[in-house]
Amino acid sequence: MNFNLSNTLADWLTERTIPFKYLPGPPPCLWVSVNDWASVANLAKQEGLRLVAEWASQQNESFFIHSSYALPKQGYALVFARLDSGNESFPSLAPHYIAAVRMERAIHDLYQIVPEGHPDLRPWIKGESWPEQASPLRKDFSLKTIWAKQTGSYPFTGMKESVGHEIPVGPIHAGIIEPGHFRFCAVGETILTLEERLGYVHKGIEKHMESRDVDSAARLAGKISGDATVAHTWAFCMAAEQASETKVPLRADYIRAILCERERMANHIGDIGAMCNDVAWSFMQMQCQRLREDLARLHGNLFGHRLLMDCLVPGGVACDLDDEKKKLIREQTHAIGKEMSELFQIYEDHISTRERVIGSGSLATRDAQDLGVVGFIGRSCEQNLDARCDAAYSPYDRHLPHIKVCRGGDVSARLWIRFEEIQVSVGLITTLLEELPSGQILENLRTPADGRWGFAAVESWRGEIVTWLRFGPEGQINRCYVRDPSMVNWLGLELVVRDIPVPDFPLNNKSFNCSYSGHDL
C-alpha cells in the first residue's frame, strides 16, 4: 500500500501550523484535534486531494472521526480526531467535499453523533421503521436488538415549482435488480432532477463484523457485494494482513490478481450486454450472457464457486493453480478476449445503438472531480485514477496495468471503457499466469495486537474499495469500515440523468451499475 501522501500531508499541516501527531503504524496516520477537522479538509481540497472516505468509530467511551485522502501516484493518507467527551459532534466536511454529505448522514444514522454545519441531516441509511434515537454502531447496542417498529415517511425534496410531476420508482424495480428508490421530478418525459433514496438493503454488516474473528469476517466481506466478492475479500484480507504484519506469499498475490481480473472481465461483459439490452439490442445481450456463463462455469469447475466466493482468505488464497488449470484459464481468457474484440466491432457498426448511447447521460469532468467519482466512471470523465496504480499493492506494483482514460463521460464512454478494460485484463491475466512465481499460497495470519489498524485499497471492477479495520483483543474485529465505490458513484447518477428522457434512465443506471448492497452495508 502506498502511503506516501501521509508524509506530504504532514508537511503541509506543519506549514499551516495545524498541530498533529504522526503515528507511523502501519498504516501511518495523522492525529489532529477535532477542532481542526474541517481545516484539514480545507487544506486538502486546496491541494487537490480527493476525499476517499469519512467514518466514525468508538473506543471505550470516546468517539473518533476518521478520514482518508488520496492523490494520484502519492497514494493515501489517514487522518483522525477524537471527539471531545460530552460533545458528540464534529465539524462537517460537507462544505468542502460533496462526497462527505452522505457519508456523514450515515455516520449520524449509525452513531447519533452530529456533523456540525451539515446542510442535510435527513436519515440516509436509517429506515422509517427505526426508532428516533437509534444508534446501532454504538458499543452499548446489541446486534440482536429488535426494535419496536415505527412508522414515518421520508421528506423528499420534491418539485420546487409546480411545473411538472414527480415519478417515484422503487424500491422494488421492474427487472432482476437490487432495490432502491428513485424520485424523479419531470416535465413531460424529460427528467429535471433525480433524488435517490437508498439504504433498503442495509444488513448491519459493520455491526456484524464486530462480533467476528478474522476468517469469519473475511467471508462476510465477500458478501458485501456479491458481484465484487473477490475485490471486497481482497481489500479486507489486505487490511487484516497489514494489521497483523503478515507477509502474503507472492504466488498468492498473483492468484488473487488473476481472480480479480477475471471478476472484472465477467462484470464488464455482463454490463455491456445488459446496456445493449436496455436499448433493445438483444443480440449483444445473448452473446455477452453466453460469455459470462462460460467464465462462471470455468470458475465453478476450477475453484468450486461460479462467482469465486471464499477463494481469497486471510493470508493468501484457498485454491492453487496447476499447469492444467493455468492452461484452461489462459485459453479461455484469450478466446473470450478475442470474441469481445469482434463484438466491439459489431457494436461500433450498430448505428441505432450508437444513436442511443452517444451523448446520453454525460457527466462533466469538473463534476466528476468535485464529486470524487472513482473507477471506470471516473476514467470515462478524464479522471486518471486507479487503485492498482495509486495504492500500488502487490502484484500490480510489478505489473502496472495500462489505465484507460477517455473523455465525454456519457453512456458511450462508459461502454468504451469497459470494452477496453476487458482487453487490458486479458493482457494482465496472461502476464500473471506466465510469471506466476512458485511457492506457498497461504501464510498463517499472525494474531494482530489489540488496537492495531489496517487500511487497504483495491480496484474492483467498479472502482476503488477501501477497507479500514481495527482489531480488538485476541484477534477479534473491533471495528470494520468498508467504503464501496458506489458510496461516491451513486452521486454521479443523480447529475447525469438531468435533461435525459425517462426511458433512457434504465440505460444510464445500468451504465453506472452501482451496488446497492455495497453502498448500504
Binding site: G127, S129, W130, P136, F141, L143, K144, T145, I146, W147, K149, P171, I172, A174, G175, I176, I177, E178, P179, G199, Y200, V201, H202, K203, G204, K207, H208, R219, L220, K223, I224, S225, G226, D227, T229, G270, M286, Q289, R290, R292, E293, A296, G300, R306, L307, M309, S515, Y516, S517
Partner: protein, 160 residues
C-alpha cells in the same frame, strides 16, 4: 455456433418443497405459462447474477414457458432473495399482497432460506418464511441457475 441450450441437469444444492402445495389442477395450469416477479429483499446481489443467468442461452428459461414480469400484478410466482432487511419488510409484504391468487413463493439462496450470514437482528428479519408464506426453498450461496430452474419447476409440480 448453433443452439447451445442444454437439457436441464439435476440440482446440486438442496431444494425443499414446504408449506401448502397448490391444488394439482392449478399447478398444471402454471406449466407452459408461468409469470415470475423477482424481489430482492436484501441480498448481496450474488443471487441476482444467477437469476439473470436463467435467461442466458444455456439455460433458456423461456423454453419451459416461464418468463419474468415487471409487475406483481402480472405474476404467478414471487422469487425472493435476501435476508429480508427491516428496510424492505413493508415492500415485500406489499408485493406479496399484490400478487393475485393462486400464487407461489420461492425463497432463493441461503439468506432467504434461513437468514444466511445475517440471521435475525436489528437490520434483518432473516428467512423470508418469517415474513410471507413460502412454498419452495432453494439453498445455495448463491444457488446455481440449474438449482433455481429445478426449484421453480418443482414448485409447479413439473419436477419431482
Amino acid at each position: 455456433m448453433g443452439t447451445i441450450t442444454e437439457p436441464l441437469a439435476n440440482a446440486k444444492n438442496q431444494i425443499e418443497v414446504v408449506g401448502d402445495t397448490l391444488d394439482q389442477a392449478i399447478q398444471k395450469r402454471f406449466r407452459g405459462s408461468l409469470a415470475i416477479r423477482q424481489v430482492d429483499a436484501g441480498s448481496c446481489n450474488g443471487c441476482e447474477l444467477e437469476i439473470n443467468a436463467l435467461n442466458n442461452p444455456y439455460y433458456s428459461l423461456e423454453r419451459f414457458g416461464i418468463h419474468f414480469v415487471a409487475s406483481p400484478r402480472h405474476a404467478d410466482m414471487l422469487l425472493v432473495t435476501g435476508p429480508v432487511t427491516r428496510n424492505m419488510e413493508t415492500a415485500l409484504k406489499m408485493v406479496y399482497e399484490a400478487v393475485p391468487n393462486p400464487k407461489l413463493v420461492v425463497a432463493v439462496g441461503d439468506c432467504a432460506v434461513c437468514g444466511g450470514e445475517f440471521g435475525c437482528n436489528y437490520a434483518t428479519i432473516g428467512k423470508v418464511s418469517d415474513v410471507i408464506p413460502v412454498n419452495v426453498l432453494v439453498h445455495g450461496c448463491p444457488p446455481t441457475p440449474t438449482d433455481l430452474l429445478n426449484g421453480i419447476l418443482m414448485a409447479i409440480g413439473q419436477k419431482g
